[in-house]
């Protein structure tokens, strides 16, 4: 009788230990699955994206004509206007830009994007003719509470500029790798796109992009980062649409 009783006790003891183990296992398993255990998440190396930058920095850079616009790293690609021949350009009152061909008013800016605080509107003139308007914009970062290398921000945040100028030639210095330059059309105008370093799907604003648009009177250049490329293309298109009232 004692042998049967002790075997039964052993049986229940083993059962209880097994039940406890199964219960604890289920508890932590569910916790890990619903995000309670950060150690269960496979994290990317925090600097994984710098590989793209380092590889891009090694790629060739050279001047090339795309859509009738000469772009690249070479000297002498800076836009020039004959209104400044023999004159020294002067910074001038931004009010003077109103109504000129180089003035602009973006009809589309992503939510939260606003004029940069530290870089004042920059308007230049030669002999009373306004030939260049530059405005900078700040992009706020947009990210969730659990932002991490595996869950990057939606927007990294950053800054870009819009610069419209008179120019006698369609040339502009762009310092990115030559393979990142490609033709694009913006509101029916020939333009050059310098794609960001990060590939599609990983592009949330890291690195510098540029869109250079050929105008009858010169050029418009959008340069910067902080947003995915698609947003910059919408901003560029919006320069040629009526502003919503």
């Amino acid at each position: 009788m004692d042998g049967i009783r002790s075997r039964r006790r052993l049986y229940w003891a083993v059962t209880a230990v097994l039940a406890l183990a199964i219960g604890v296992g289920s508890f932590w398993g569910v916790r890990a699955l619903v995000g309670g255990g950060s150690e269960a998440t496979a994290e990317r190396d925090p600097g994984w994206w710098t590989t793209y930058f380092n590889q891009d920095a090694q790629k060739p850079r050279f001047n090339q004509e795309i859509n009738g616009i000469l772009v690249g790293p070479g000297d002498g690609l800076e836009p020039t206007s004959d209104v400044c021949t023999g004159l020294t350009p002067q910074w001038t009152d931004p009010e003077k830009a109103k109504g000129t061909v180089v003035d602009f008013s973006p009809s589309y800016l992503p939510e939260g994007v606003k004029r940069a605080a530290s870089e004042p509107e920059s308007v230049m003139e030669c002999g009373g003719t306004v030939f260049s308007v530059l405005r900078s914009y700040d992009v706020p970062a947009k990210y969730g509470p659990d932002v991490s290398p595996s869950n990057p921000p939606e927007w990294s945040g950053g800054n870009f500029s819009i610069w419209r100028m008179l120019s006698d030639k369609h040339t502009f210095p762009l310092l990115g790798a030559a393979e990142r330059m490609e033709p694009i059309t913006v509101a029916g105008r020939a333009a050059v796109l310098m794609r960001p370093v990060m590939p599609e799907g990983e592009d949330y604003g890291l690195g510098k992009m540029a869109i250079v648009i050929a105008e009858d009177f010169g050029l418009t250049a959008i340069q910067g980062g902080g947003l995915p490329l698609g947003e910059f293309i919408k901003i560029a298109e919006g320069l040629y649409e009526e502003r919503a009232q």
Binding site: L18, D138, A141
Partner: protein
């Protein structure tokens, strides 16, 4: 065997329910950081706080002009602090060169925590670089930790109307960068080329940063 099976299934059920609904211990941690960015050229101050060309818009400006000769090196110099032990990478700097009326090299600062979020930028105007599109680590520690990195060199010339003589125009990206007005005055003007113009500051001493920036993140 049946009681054992029932007990096992009950354990799984109770374990799953508890896993889903049992309150979690509070794990909120606040990570705090400070970054102090120092002047990146020579130690003679050419022009106090201003915007645009010196000495326009004094006192309200975000820029200081520093002595530099053509082709002299321009450095990122910073001290970083964090509220947890040890030292490590608190941010990464991305070097970008652009023509925006004048030539600029910008260092865009993206934090490690929160991950890859821009914390502002420092622009080095009238500067050229061989490192466009590259990145570097910005360090921080429980005591101030230094980062020094050459990011470019002073141009001999810039676009018409941009520069009278080679120098560094160093500017932040606005709030929440704080200007170190206590150490660098508004009124000083000692333009490059002025005879005997010397206006030295110990730019590499702790406390003589040009800008500082705090940020924090609660996890």
């Amino acid at each position: 065997m049946r009681p054992m099976l029932i007990l096992a299934l009950t354990s799984v059920f109770v374990g799953i329910l508890a896993g889903l609904y049992a309150p979690r211990a509070s794990e909120a941690t606040v990570f705090s950081f400070t970054l102090r960015v120092h002047p990146g050229a020579g130690f003679n101050l050419n022009c106090g706080w201003h915007d645009g060309g010196c000495p326009a818009n004094p006192s309200t400006g975000h820029a200081l002009d520093w002595e530099s000769q053509a082709y002299y090196q321009i450095n990122w110099k910073s001290f970083g602090w964090r509220n947890f032990s040890g030292s490590g990478v608190i941010a990464r700097g991305e070097i970008d060169e652009v023509l925006e009326q004048c030539w600029k090299v910008k260092v865009i600062v993206r934090s490690s925590i929160p991950y890859n979020v821009e914390q502002g930028r420092i622009s080095y105007t009238h500067t050229d670089t061989d490192w466009d599109g590259t990145t570097f680590d910005i360090n921080g520690g429980s005591s101030y930790t230094v980062t020094t990195r050459m990011v470019g060199y002073t141009r001999s010339t810039d676009q018409p109307g941009c520069m009278d003589a080679p120098h560094l125009h160093q500017v932040d990206s606005g709030s929440p960068w704080a200007r170190n007005s206590a150490k660098y005055p508004t009124s000083d003007v000692c333009l490059p080329g002025w005879l005997g113009c010397e206006n030295p500051h110990p730019i590499w001493t702790i406390g003589y940063h040009q800008f500082s920036r705090n940020w924090s993140y609660t996890n």
